[in-house]
Amino acid sequence: MTEEASLSPEIVLAEIKKNGVTHVVWLPDSETNWLYTLMKAEPSLTLVTVPREGLAFSCASGIHIGGGKPVILIQNTGLMEAGDSMRGWTKDMNIPVVLIVGYRGYTRHGVNKDTAATYTEPFLHAFHVPFYLVENSEDAPRISIAFADAQRTRQPAAILVGDEYHGFNR
C-alpha cells in the first residue's frame, strides 16, 4: 500500500463529526495520536479517556441514555478484554454505538504474526457485532454505514481500522 492510499485522520474526524458524535470514549494506542491531536482541537467533541476498555462500554451507555452520542475508539486487544462489558452495557441495553477499533496485526495477505489480529474477527462474529474494514481514505464512508447500522439495529457496530502502520501515524 502506498502512502497515498493511507487513511487520513482528518477524514476519520470528518466522519465522526458528520454523524453527530458528542463524546469520544477512548483509550489511546500508538497509532492514533494524530487523530487525538485533531479531536482535542475540535470544540464539538468531549474526549473521555478510559483506563481499561471495558469501562468504555459502560460509559458510552450512560452517555447515550443521557442523550449524547458516543463513539468508542480502542484497539482490538482491548476490545477482546472488554467482551463482557460490551455484552452487558451495550448489547443487552440496546445502545447504538459505533466502535472504531485499531486492527493490530492486520495484514492484507492474511499471514498473521500477531494473534490479536487472528482472533479479532471471530470475536466480533461471536458477539454478533457487524463490522466494516477501513484500510484507506477511500473506505472512510463505511464509517457512516456503521453509524447507520448501529442506529437501525440499536446495537453496536464496528469499524476495523486496518491501517495501523500508515495514515494514523504520520
Partner: protein, 195 residues
C-alpha cells in the same frame, strides 16, 4: 457499621431532583424512594461498570445531579474508574460507595483486603476534590445534606452491614419491580431524551 436502610432513609430527604442509580441497593431503595421516574435500577449488566455508566450519564446531563449507590466489590473491579471520573470533574456527580466488605450476593465472601481498604483516601488520591468516610449513622445523617451541596465529583464511602444472599439466583426475588428496559424508558421520558 450502618444498616443500608438507615443510610438510604437519611439520604432521601436531601435527594432533591437527583437521578439515582441504585445499584445493589435497589431492593431497599425502591421502598424508600418517592420519585420512581428518576430512579435507575439497572440490575447487573456487567459487574464493575456502574461508576463509568454514571459518569457518562453525568457528562450527558451536566445540569442534573447524578447519585450512584456503588459497591466496593464493583469498584475494586475497576479502580481506574476513579481517575477517569476525577479527570472529567463532573460537578454533578455524587458517588456513594456502600462498603459491606464482602460479595453479599454470592454468599458473603470477603472482597480483597476488605477490612483495610480506604476508598475515600483512594478517591482523594485519584483527584476527587472531596471525599468522606462514615462508620456511624449519626455522622452520616448530620453530614449528607451538606455533602450533596458540594461540587462534584464527591466520594462518600459508608461502611454498611452486609445483607447476604445465599440462595440460587433463579430463586431470588428480582431487585426491582420494573425491568431494566422499563426503567430506562421511564428515565428517558423524564429527561426528554429520544435519541
Amino acid at each position: 457499621m450502618l444498616k443500608m436502610d438507615d443510610v438510604l432513609k437519611a439520604f432521601q430527604p436531601h435527594r432533591g431532583d437527583a437521578i439515582v442509580i441504585s445499584g445493589r441497593a435497589t431492593r431497599q431503595w425502591e421502598k424508600i424512594s418517592t420519585q420512581r421516574e428518576r430512579d435507575l435500577p439497572l440490575g447487573d449488566p456487567a459487574m464493575g461498570g456502574h461508576a463509568s455508566f454514571a459518569l457518562g450519564l453525568a457528562l450527558a446531563q451536566p445540569h442534573r445531579k447524578i447519585v450512584l449507590f456503588d459497591s466496593e466489590g464493583d469498584i475494586q473491579m475497576n479502580l481506574g474508574v476513579l481517575a477517569m471520573i476525577a479527570e472529567q470533574k463532573p460537578k454533578n456527580f455524587y458517588h456513594l460507595l456502600l462498603d459491606n466488605e464482602c460479595y453479599a450476593t454470592t454468599g458473603g465472601q470477603p472482597v480483597p483486603n476488605a477490612k483495610t481498604m480506604a476508598y475515600d483516601v483512594i478517591a482523594k488520591g485519584c483527584g476527587y476534590p472531596s471525599a468522606h468516610a462514615f462508620t456511624n449513622l449519626e455522622s452520616f445523617t448530620v453530614s449528607i445534606g451538606r455533602i450533596l451541596s458540594e461540587p462534584g465529583p464527591v466520594m462518600v464511602a459508608v461502611k454498611i452491614v452486609p445483607e447476604i444472599e445465599n440462595v440460587p439466583i433463579g430463586q431470588r426475588t428480582p431487585r426491582s419491580k420494573r425491568t431494566r428496559n422499563e426503567a430506562l424508558a421511564d428515565l428517558r421520558k423524564t429527561l426528554g431524551v429520544n435519541n
